[in-house]
């Protein structure tokens, strides 16, 4: 017979944790693991039944698809490790392996007669641009010099934890300062980079989701450097592989995880966190919450009572621009990449050269042609990611979330089909590769799908936009002044470091370290595990 071994009085006891992490996305998982490793009593709550948030996978027929990742940056190599690899291998020691993708990208802009494959490596990158746009070499070389200067400055700012010494900055990081107030286009123009070369160099703009006329140069430089120098990487067993490895590690380190449990309330009294209220009706006490949830949702919906939210918190949210979201067409093809003639891993196909035009026309209309797509063939990085004689292709395009706000449920499935058809046609036309009659499995994820699985505010995937004034650098410098609830930290794509896998993973580490420091200062914890 069934035996219940827990006694009921124990069950009714109010639970207490040093830290509660809200959400098991990239940031929440790293935050919980980092704290557990330090011996902190931590509980990670996730509303879905899986870890990962956007970093997940799903199975259709014979295929397992990556949910959102194209390639991870900030990995570096085993010899020269960068942030993400240091977190995974040195700090958390998780069981996950990664494979480098073969080339940075192939950018196709028919309107400007561009079709260029860009390899990894600064020298190789520079040569490829020069070959495509003769005479561009000098400007591209100067660009890379600038990127290196900015990288050194970012390291300094990152280590300063919000306390930047301005004199030191001016003395040692002048190029960082002088470009810091500008968008990508302004700096590339000043470098006298030919426009056609700019199109190639900035092709990754869609990974940051904001046109180059507004995108902070600093942020673009930082991202491009880590991709081109350190390579792009994909997890061997999809993102679900490393998120499940993180889940395992958290438990091994003594952390606790509960799925299917949504945090409905973050309880605040006199400006201080006192606990959380869950969808299971439980109140759990804590003085520290790390929210892998947007400030938008936390301040507007989750803090309880709402009178504890100061006016300035609403202002901060309203001053910013919520980023874009995605539509992804996942294709399981019944021919190999070789049979189909797919030669490259990553394709950026832009039916217009200007990122402004792509952003304006592409992301704000549902019915018009969607002129930007980023397409990946996973088998070109992991040949056996699908059964022999098959392949996996993802086509992704960008949308402003509000574009989808007035979709009627009865039009929803037809709209998915219409948009997917058009993206497939565009891919075939730009590459001369026929995929249409090899489709064995197809799934289409929309902003609504992403909202459904993660509950993220308005289906936004890219956090807040990295305009010049709200760039990651400015956020990090201001972070100590922009905390309005004692005991509350943010991680994930909406936190200071911005969206993207590597940023959100590192944001979890940062939030954990800040929280740890507070736990020590307030003497809430004694001994810390080294």
């Amino acid at each position: 017979m069934t035996q219940i071994t827990t006694n009921s009085s124990n069950q009714d006891k109010i639970r207490f944790y040093n830290v509660i992490v809200a959400g098991a996305g990239n940031g929440g998982l790293v935050a919980a693991a980092t704290l557990a490793r330090k011996g902190v009593k931590v509980l990670l709550l996730e509303q879905h039944n899986l870890p990962g948030g956007f970093a997940s996978s799903f199975v259709r027929g014979r295929f397992e698809f990556e949910t959102s990742l194209h390639e991870l940056c900030s990995m570096g190599t085993s010899d020269e490790k960068e942030g993400v690899r240091r977190i995974f291998e040195d700090q958390l020691n998780i069981e996950a392996s990664f494979i480098q993708v073969p080339e940075a990208y192939r950018v196709i802009i028919p309107e400007e007669e561009l079709d260029v494959i860009i390899p990894f490596g600064v020298q190789e990158f520079t040569d490829a641009v020069e070959k495509a746009v003769p005479g561009s070499k000098k400007s591209v070389k100067n660009f890379w010099q600038l990127v290196e200067d900015i990288h050194n400055a970012i390291i300094y700012v990152g280590r300063s934890q919000g306390k930047v010494d301005r004199i030191e900055m001016l003395r040692n990081h002048a190029n960082f300062i002088k470009t810091g107030g500008y968008a990508v286009d302004e700096v590339l123009d000043a470098l006298k980079m030919p426009l056609k070369a700019q199109r190639i160099v900035t092709a990754y703009w869609c990974y940051l989701g904001i046109p180059t006329s507004r995108l902070s140069f600093t942020i673009f430089a930082g991202m491009l450097r880590t991709y081109i120098k350190g390579g792009g990487w994909v997890p061997r067993y999809r993102s679900h592989g490393f998120t499940t490895a993180l889940d395992k590690r958290i438990r091994e380190l003594g952390g606790e995880i509960e799925y299917n449990t949504r945090i409905e309330k973050i309880l605040v009294k006199d400006g201080k966190i006192t606990g959380v209220g869950t969808s299971k009706g439980e109140i759990i006490r804590t003085n520290h919450v790390i929210a892998n949830i947007s400030p938008t949702a936390v301040y507007n919906k989750i803090i309880y009572p709402q009178t504890e939210v100061p006016e300035i918190a609403y202002k901060l949210v309203n001053a910013r621009t919520h980023g874009i979201t995605l539509l992804v067409v996942y294709l399981g093809l019944d021919k190999s990449a070789e049979e189909l003639g797919i030669t490259d891993y990553s394709y950026f196909i832009y039916n217009k050269g200007s990122s402004d035009a792509l952003y304006e026309e592409g992301t704000k209309e549902l019915t018009k042609s969607h002129p930007a797509q980023a397409t990946v063939c996973l088998n070109k990085a992991i040949p056996d990611c699908s059964p022999p004689g098959t392949s996996i292709l993802y086509i992704t395009t960008l949308f402003r979330p509000e574009t989808w706000a007035n979709v009627k449920v009865e039009d929803y499935f037809d709209l998915k089909t219409e948009l997917a058809t058009q993206l497939i046609d565009d891919f075939e036309q730009a590459t001369n590769i026929t995929i249409r009659n090899s489709i064995e499995e197809i799934e289409v994820a929309t902003p609504i799908t992403f909202a459904h699985y993660t509950k993220v505010y308005n289906g936004v995937i890219y956090g807040y936009e990295n305009d010049v004034w709200d760039s990651v650098v400015n956020r990090l410098q201001s972070m100590n002044h922009e905390k309005y609830i004692d005991g509350l930290e943010f991680c994930g794509g909406f936190a200071e470091q911005g969206h993207g896998y590597s940023s959100s993973l590192d944001s979890g580490r940062l939030a954990a370290l800040v929280t740890l420091q507070k736990l020590i200062e307030s003497e809430e914890i004694g001994e810390i595990r080294k």
Binding site: M1, Q3, T5, T6, L50, F58, V59, R62, E64, N142, Q145, L146, A174, N175, K178, T179, G181, Y182, E186, Y237, H240, T244, E258, Y259, N260, T261, R262, K280, N300, Q306, Y314, K315, N318, A319, D334, P401, E402, W404, A405, V409, E410, F413, T417, T421, I424, I439, E440, E441, I442, T449, A451, H452, Y457, N458, G459, V468, W469, D470, N474, S478
Partner: protein
Amino acid sequence: MRINIKGNIRDILKFTKLIPERIERIQNASSDKITSDPINELAFKLHPDTQHLMISDIFNETKSTKTFKLVPDLDSNTRHVAYFRAGQYLSLKVDVIKGKDTYRITRPYSISSSPFEALKGFYEITIKKTEGGFLSEFAWQNWKVGTKIEASDPQGFFYYDPIRDKPSIIGLGGGSGITPFRSMAREITSGKMNANLTLFYGSSDEEDIIFFEEFSALAKNYPEKLKIINVLSCEIVTLAGCLEGFITADIIQTYADVNESSIFICGPQAMYNFLKTEIDSLNLPTKRIRQEMFGEIKNITQCEGFPLDKAENIYTIKVKMGKQYLEVPANATETVLVALERAKLAPPSRCRSGECGWCRSRLISGDIFISPESDGRRIADKKFGYFHPCSSYPISNLEIEVPTEF
């Protein structure tokens, strides 16, 4: 290299103004609360956590088959039934009372009404009563107009996709496996779905043919869009136009162009086993054949690789579920999910076929048997010891961690 963008002083000034500009922008921003989240609202309309429904009508289809019409339970917060694609199913969550005991179980049922009818506010599900059927026997006795039923949002991947599939659909249905085809037939003949359907429908007896009149009438009125070929396995066939025997490759090829069609199959397990050889002989690519899941494998001992020496064994499963720790007995020939439900644990589940992953749980120790055709696990889940209790059979004592229902 020293860069100048717009001049040394201007560049430095621009940088030094960044933080003051940030502060100013924040100060000048609106302090209004954001109260709307239209994308999540739409997501919730399409994928509600739970649909609270109520039986509004019951139709007797055959001696052993009833259709239940389901509408929103207005005592709950459900106001609409979620839109879906013809062919999808609902996972019902039902408290089945047997004697003094109440068991909370789930059962997946294809929606037999069409998506355009969901927009009018209802679903229909059609249930065949089976001998010893845990839910169907209970439903027969207890479900009346006014009975409240909890359901998932529409689930599953057994639907026509205009990008992937040929617009000529060959349906192979058996018994209550006609239900998703009825949804498709209604959608097609009402002009909402741009495809045509040739349905081969196998029944064991004339009086067991479900929706006979409805399909005959639709086929007569829409000959371009719908054909129905009833195939009867009984000895004497009197109904005009019905074929004798089973659905074979020959029969399919006589009435349809298999090379220009997509084949959709839904029926009992026995039919799948029979059809496998027939379909294989057609030599079609995998993409042309889609098969609905059929729930738990009825006789797991017949699956290749199942350790027959363990078939009679009863094991103990140590379960951690939320804050509870329990020990549950389990038969080797029943799924772990059934053992948990029998112990009244009500773990999450939906498809009961290994496909959807909603019951995903952690195997801490012990051995399980999973038939390859119902192993829908992710690669990493296999590596890290996660499993789907709905398609896993215990072949040793187990220790597992199961999530609690949302």
